[in-house]
Amino acid sequence: MDKRRIVEGLSAIVGREWVISDPDELTVYECDGMTYLEKALPDVVVLPDSTEQVAEVVKFCSREQLPFLPRGAGTGLSGGAIAVQGGVIIGLNRMNRILEIDLANQRAVVEPGLVNIALTQAVQDHGHYFAPDPASQAASSIGGNVAENAGGPHCLKHGTTTMHILGLELVLASGEIVQVGGKTLDYPGYDLTGLFVGSEGTLGIATKVTVRLLRQAEASKTLLASFRTIDAASEVVSEIIATGIIPSALEMMDRHIIKALEEWLQIGYPEGAGAVLLIELDGPAAEIEAQAKGIEQICAQHGILDLRIAKDEQERTLLWKGRKGAVAAVGRITHEFYLQDGVIPRTKLPQVLREIEAIAERNAFVIANVFHAGDGNLHPLICFDSRRKGELQRAIAAGAEIMRLCLSVGGSITGEHGIGMEKIDFVPLMYSPDDLEAMRRVRVAFDPSLRCNPGKLLPTTRSCSETNVTYRPHRVEREGLAQRY
């Protein structure tokens, strides 16, 4: 259909100023946080301001048989917000209101475009906070967090986004508006709220989100422990958990990250540090005092090089500075990097990290590691330079090897970044055709037209007859690294 008609149709719903169709302006939307594999321009971007407008836009897409997808802040790392088949991107940034804060019941109702950190900022003076804290929280939207089931360093103790989402208002692909869950718990019926969280925009568009707010802990304590080797740090991780302590965060950085950070921020990690653990405890003061003592003892037994304990909020910020800057710091030691997100059982850490090191050596790459050690969620950064012939391809191949490695020890190919487009061809390594068929049934129940964020999360079969969408090979497929089933 011709683009002018799309623009006119959508302008009639939201107003011409909220429809973006200029090719230059559309470039902003050609990708999200996944910048290296694929880019694609939407035909149009539309910025509605209400649930009703979203519903009207979706109905328009339905009438015109256009694919569409929701987009929040575009910080996703797996390409979930890329309009791989063109169509309409529905940007939810204008819908960023806090609709209700109900502290007596520890709930809030917000619009999807609200930036994650803004919710905590709105309630922190009353002693509450919104627990999910992905690294992107200063930019990413709560709707995006819902779509990806975002994690973050503190989900070790407080759980991923799904545990904090209690209800949703959804616009389905048909344009119908439905409510699932709500402010109270245990709604009768299937747990559609839980099913929707992490569905990467393929089941519909969330237009209101009811969240749980947590009470701030009485106290917190942040420790930074440096070790000579990754193995020693991994043993400390295992032992902390084995003694029954669940820190609120338990993060590890390897020697590559340490080196990059030292060059950039001069954090002052000790000479010879091959691994750094950032450990945070929160809870009643008496509890974390006792736990911190226990952790100090465990560290001492494993040849700790240096232990720093934050005395105040300022020092805490300093200790976190390295962890928060870790991914950015890697930019100083490489032209580009390919960020992985595999998960392994915590007890397999030393073994898997050794094997990742071997993959790096075989490929003559640096693979830097900064990750959520407490829950086994790895973030290997494969450093490469696409200007050198074949390097991108080898980096992607090394990424595939790491995913297979994670699966071979009973893990997952993604802990918090999602499948999106990036890992769509690797999903069949984790799930059988029957497993995927069950997921397809969910997809079809919500959106029989399959026009809601097509080409994400679920691999379509090569000869997919149920869509009118043309088959388009993924980059890893074009380059002979994987095959469709």
Binding site: Q216, P345, G376
Partner: protein
Amino acid sequence: MNSERLEGRLAGIVGADHVVAAESCAPYAVDDKAPKAVVFPADAQELSEVMKLASSERLSVVPWGSGTKIGLGGIPARVDLVVGLTRLNQIIDYEPGDLTATFQAGMLLREAQTSLHSGGQFLPFDPARYERATIGGILATNSSGPWRHRYGTARDLVIGIRVVHADGTLTKGGAKVVKSVSGYDMSKLYVGSLGTLGIILEATLRLYPLPAVERTWIALFLTGEAAGCAVAQILHSTIVCTRVELLSPFAAQSVGRQAGCALPADTVAVAVSVGSMSEAVDAQIAAIRKLCHQERAVAGFLVEGSAQESLWRAICDFPSASGDGRSWATLKASVSLAKVLETIHRAEALGRDLGLESAAVSEAGCGIVRLYWRGETGSPEKDPTSIAKGVEELRRWVLRDGGSLVILSARPAIKASVDVWGPVGNALFLMRELKRQFDSQGLLNPGRFVGGI
């Protein structure tokens, strides 16, 4: 297919020793509807074969763990075959360092717990009838108890799942690691679906370390308001409780008797437990004690060790059988935290109007209120319509506040006169569509779930 032929076909799959037929099926009746046969598969393969047979013969199937939650749900449309899961009772995987374990559905919670305790860990499930409850049954019904205050329910704890579908297909969802966002979170779909989308075969769950010390403070109050204020104070403090329970006078008395600690009549009890290192437990119990005192608690006790265990078991298992043939109708109201007390008061007032005895036990920090009604002494066969009427009236009020009211168990005569689930809002058509996608012949627990699913 006639019963004898069915029995033979089933025996061909699982062996004659593992099929129950004819009159022997009576104990497996669901709301007085007895199945034609009960079959006990030994493994995934046999279960899959049984389902293939059921779907080719269009037999309706009721999955059955130990039957402790079989009262949940509407009266089934049909009960042809009960599939017993007690032979699927193994721990598949347990690695204490990972704080996860994988169990087969028929495993008794009690036995799972024994194995986990040896690793210094536990599964924070404490549903009613703990002694007999199975992991699969708890998941299918998303049953919970006081521990949900700190640890959530099955929906929060399941990280991976394997199910057998109506046509015998075996699928899995999730993973065996605590974080995974690969594909849809299928565990959420099956947990709490009452076996209507598939039969849970095994599940991987997140575990917790056993606290070094756990102690409980019970405070008694002359009024529900005072008890409610104390609970609110505790919830809005920085104290981290593992359980926060509010018991109406009737429930408090009965629980006290069961647990061997006599509580004075006509007092509302608040039981709060804290688990941590010893010094942290003491400090927090002291703070709880102080808050309760400020809210005019008339008495308080510290409970620990085996007495603590009996106390919480009695709370979970309330109401124990009364022995005079009067059975309780059990309801679960889910309301906002601020409405817990009012819900209990309304239920009690309604009960009085309808000539019913009432009791209430509430996970007050979660807004969950378990309500109990039964006929007064001397009128055991109270007209079931009075309870049904009470449910409808109370439900109207609960819904207005955005909550829900579900019947957890009641005699079939009551269930026949009122929807056990109540309305589920405007997403019911999506639920029906999911059911159609997963069980197009409507064989799994037909009629027992919301909206007649």
